[in-house]
């Protein structure tokens, strides 16, 4: 049961990454690797959060680091810069529900502005959700970018010798 949960999580993340990736016009040869990276990254975050009790921010950082490192190795195979592979792969980890709740609480705060108790509850909820969504977004970008600095030489010559031009 646990295994199916993890696999289905990875599978849906892969579909989401390929779909969001297609908006940015990637080369066709990159799609399989975008899917693999997204599935591994998202499944890793799922495991960290559900089985090891890690919070969403740290888990996102670790997952983004895995995706970033993976893109260094896959990028060489398909002659794509790292960003082409890891930006779509990171998108399924965007904290959508937290972002939604941030906006919703803000709207409700405006509605309840004359009632100090309920108004401040919504304001508190907005700060709570806003802090989570901002931190997760920030950590996703940082986690995936760190491997670029660690493996600079390799990361900068990814497209050398490409057969596709």
């Amino acid at each position: 049961m646990i295994a199916t949960d993890i696999i289905s999580d990875g599978l849906f993340a892969a579909v989401a990454a390929m779909g969001f990736g297609s908006i940015s016009d990637p080369p066709m040869r990159a799609f399989p690797y975008i899917a693999i990276l997204a599935a591994v990254g998202h499944a890793a975050r799922y495991c960290l959060m559900n089985f090891l009790g890690v919070d969403i921010v740290s888990a996102s950082l670790v997952a983004a680091f895995i995706i970033g490192t993976g893109s260094v190795f896959f990028g060489r195979k398909v002659f794509c810069p790292m960003t082409v592979l890891y930006i779509p792969a990171l998108l399924p980890m965007v904290p959508g529900t937290y972002a939604y709740k941030t906006v919703f609480s803000l709207i409700m705060f405006f509605q309840e502005i004359s009632s100090p108790t309920r108004g401040s509850e919504y304001l508190q909820e907005m700060i709570f959700n806003g802090a989570v969504s901002f931190s997760v977004l920030f950590m996703l970008a940082v986690g995936a970018t760190v491997p670029v600095f660690l493996l600079r030489e390799r990361a900068n010559s990814m497209t050398r010798g490409s057969r596709f031009i």
């Binding site: 908006i23 082409v84 031009i165």
Partner: protein, 255 residues
């Protein structure tokens, strides 16, 4: 080298870097690639970039010839394919000792390649948002509604972009259209309706400028990095505005 040669090289590098910056490639890669092409052709290249313009100097140190110009950066749709293949072109110029004419004709070939079919993109983006809904815990009905809502919203976005409407307005309108379509889930009494509503606008998230902005800042191109981040945050605010209109309309059934 004569002035004419240097001007010819500057013409090409100006085009190359404006295409790359316009298609959403992070700054240090553009600078590195342009310098690589320059050194393959035997000239030095210095670049200053900002969000809408770039300054370029191409110089031949031996004969003391320089060509400096300010370039407008056109707003192309983001293209990872250009990113990958134009980067590869700079390596090819470096490794294979190509002449300027060869590089130029290869460049024209790469940028003339057809883009991904918009209907395929529409379908893929809708499928992506539906899977996203599942990741957040939506049931099959919520997924179906998200799929449809995204399709309508994304179609609106494509249509308005083609009409050259201001992109902030495009984002507000598409976020509103997608979320109002998704709010039908509330009327249908679906259990995870709120998740459908929350995910329906996520196809708009400007992931590329967000991450590029952060990469630029860490690479030391702080000014353009901040510009990109500000741009991304403006777009996120637009998504929030579009969604707020829907939430105002349906908030009573959400409480």
């Amino acid at each position: 080298m004569t002035q004419k040669n240097v001007t010819g090289i500057a013409d090409f590098i100006a085009r190359y870097l404006s295409y790359m910056l316009g298609a959403g490639v992070h700054t240090s890669r553009v600078v590195r690639n342009s310098k690589r092409i320059g050194s393959a052709l035997g000239v030095g290249v210095s670049i200053h970039t900002s969000q809408k313009t770039a300054t370029l100097t191409v110089s031949d140190a031996e004969d003391g010839i320089k060509d400096t110009r300010v370039i407008d950066i056109p707003a192309f749709p983001i293209s990872f394919e250009w990113n990958a293949d134009l980067s590869a072109l700079s390596w090819a110029a470096h490794d294979r000792q190509m002449t300027l004419e060869e590089i130029e004709s290869r460049f024209d070939e790469i940028v003339a390649r057809p883009k991904m079919n918009p209907i395929f993109v529409l379908f893929m983006a809708s499928l992506a948002n539906a899977s996203f809904c599942r990741l957040f815990g939506g049931d099959i009905w919520a997924m179906l509604i998200t799929f449809t809502a995204t399709m309508i919203g994304f179609f609106t976005r494509q249509h308005l972009t083609r009409k050259k409407v201001n992109h902030y307005i495009v984002f507000i309108v598409s976020a509103f259209v997608a979320s109002i379509c998704a709010s039908t889930a509330l009327a249908l009494g679906i259990e995870t309706a709120e998740i459908a509503l929350a995910t329906s606008v996520l196809y708009l998230v400007p992931g590329v400028p967000l991450i590029n902005g952060l990469i630029d800042i860490t690479d030391g191109h702080i000014q353009i990095g901040i510009s990109r981040l500000v741009n991304a945050f403006m777009l996120i605010i637009c998504i929030a505005i579009g969604m707020s209109v829907t939430l105002m309309l349906v908030k009573d059934s959400l409480l």
